[in-house]
Symmetry: C2
Subunit: 348 residues, 2 copies
């Protein structure tokens, strides 16, 4: 029915005041066992549930957290957000998931809007690293770090992107690559920088000289952009003839790897025979795309879990033990970096 039962009605039926009912619901003590039972029974019977809006108005806080995500259609973020949401729900919180489209302006707008919905905290996958709009409200940065050096801004939970980049680079080298392209976006997003830095470590370790790799910068991580960039590249550089041609491509996200693969496929360049390829995130894309793409696995579940746990602690006034969690990553090796010799062996 359209009629929702209120606390007042429960109180009347139980012959107590609303104050008592409220105390019982919030387990604030100062009520007898008997009244508790009576009230609880009525609540169940009448299927009463507190009006969160009223509660929110009174307490100036609502059991809702705002989740800001750059792009929900990115499988990596989708997994992350899904996990965050289910964790929050289990703890009695709802969340408002908002897409920022990587737009700073949108991010500010949303933050502003959410504050006026009295959300009790934020989980941010943010491209920006400082928001005065959220000051004083608990916030956790996931996947991308908060502004460095500012301890008040909240906790950061991220994967070890540097090591991830290292692993990707290493895979390529071990698969025999000696002329490598790195595809990444212009920063803003520190992860990109970190992954690249990791790649450089790998190059250093294996003695690959600077002349033997090349960096291509993209506008964004979309499949489309990577596709275009790779197509352009293929037009300008002949690929499979010269002995000095590119034999490995590291991308900083699976989506980029997918775009690259599509361009290669179209040009008749084979993966991994002609060129090896790595992605990042270990999303479904990496599994599906082409022959299967070697990718760097992040522990998304763990990230979500930590984010929620940390946020809730913060909301309860607990000072976080650390302001920075760095989660381990691993390489999920697939056919896209199978070394030549292995393929030959299979054929032989």
């Amino acid at each position: 029915m359209g009629t929702t039962v209120t606390m007042k009605e429960i109180a009347q039926l139980a012959h107590v005041s609303t104050a008592t009912v409220s105390r019982i619901i919030n387990q604030n003590g100062r009520y007898s066992k008997e009244t508790e039972e009576r009230v609880l029974r009525l609540i169940k019977e009448k299927q009463y549930a507190p009006n969160q809006t009223a509660k929110g108005l009174r307490t100036r806080k609502v059991q809702t957290v705002g989740v800001l995500v750059p792009d929900i259609t990115n499988p990596h973020f989708a997994r992350l957000v899904q996990s965050i949401q289910s964790q929050l729900f289990d703890l009695g919180y709802t969340c408002i998931i908002c897409n920022t489209g990587e737009q700073m302006e949108m991010e500010e707008k949303l933050l502003y809007a959410l504050r006026h919905q009295n959300v009790c905290g934020f989980i941010m996958i943010s491209s920006k690293r400082f928001h005065k709009s959220l000051c004083s409200l608990p916030a956790v940065y996931v996947d991308r770090p908060a502004q460095e050096g500012d301890e008040n801004i909240g906790v950061t939970i991220e994967s070890d992107n540097v090591h991830g980049g290292f692993l990707a680079g290493q895979q390529l080298v071990l698969a025999g690559c000696r002329k490598i392209i790195v595809m990444r976006t212009y920063s803003q997003d520190v992860n990109q920088e970190h992954r690249y830095r990791g790649f450089l470590h790998a190059m250093e370790k294996y003695g690959i000289r600077e002349a033997e790799y090349e960096v291509v910068h993209l506008e964004d991580v979309s499949i489309k952009t990577a596709y275009s960039a790779m197509s352009d590249y293929l037009q300008k550089h002949s690929f499979s003839d010269s002995s000095r041609s590119v034999d490995g491509i590291m991308t900083t996200t699976d989506s980029m790897a997918a775009g690259v693969f599509c361009a290669l496929r179209e040009a008749g360049v084979r993966v991994p025979e002609d060129v090896k390829l790595t992605g990042f995130d270990d999303s479904d894309i990496a599994q599906i795309c082409g022959p299967g793409i070697t990718s760097i696995h992040q522990d998304v579940q763990q990230m979500a879990k930590l984010a929620v746990k940390t946020l809730i602690s913060q909301m309860n006034g607990v000072k976080p033990l650390t302001h920075h969690y760095l989660l381990p990553v691993s390489a999920n090796v697939r056919a896209s970096t199978t070394s030549f010799s292995a393929i030959e062996r299979m054929r032989g």
Copy 2:
């Protein structure tokens, strides 16, 4: 800062009552041009924004709509939800996106929880087709139909899945397939049934006899499930030797097509040379996977647009003109259904 400016303060500063400020904000008339300007200026200056919680409590309605989605990590749903959210935001609404995991129980729980947050309406991508929990609140069903025959339950906006199924089946036949497998899930989800029905139309039209296709039922649409099912199938049936072997596979979602492709890849069965494959949804997956998978395109933007428009009309008390929108679909033909002869020609 932590201090938020209230309506009362604005009223005091403007030397008017809160009622007047309220009227101005809600454009309810009965105020002079001068006071309006004065108040508006103050609002801007102080960066005042109404407390939505208080407003919601008073009006028993909040500018928030609940969006229920089976699985946000499904790219099709991700696109849909993203589009819905951005449309709503532009119109001043926020939305609470909730993942149901296709679980009826979860759906009920969420509906219940959202009602007590005073959401003003629902957009449902629901597997269930009737919810008493949402009665009396405006609701729009997207992508999957509401219970047939019940006019009060809300508006349904869906793609022409029957025609989509027809197009997919037709593509396979035109590509020369004569022994086809259909992979679908057990219903609950009417779309699955519709797509299959469309497939049957195609078979009928092209005179393919019943003995020449086979239906495999899966538990869910996940990549993994489809992968397992296909692997099993390949174990039990030798594929590429007999002249009567399967030469076409229609799946009812792109994710299933992806799973099928992975199994085929592993078994060394080539797409499209040995077997043709179609998906449904025309998501990124279809583009990326293998040689590119022919898929049925749905107009997600349009779906979202209609959903939001219809919901808002409903919330404003406008009776919908129709309870059922059927959106056209089209086939996006890719390499996975390239006919043999065409390939031969390329090679020649």
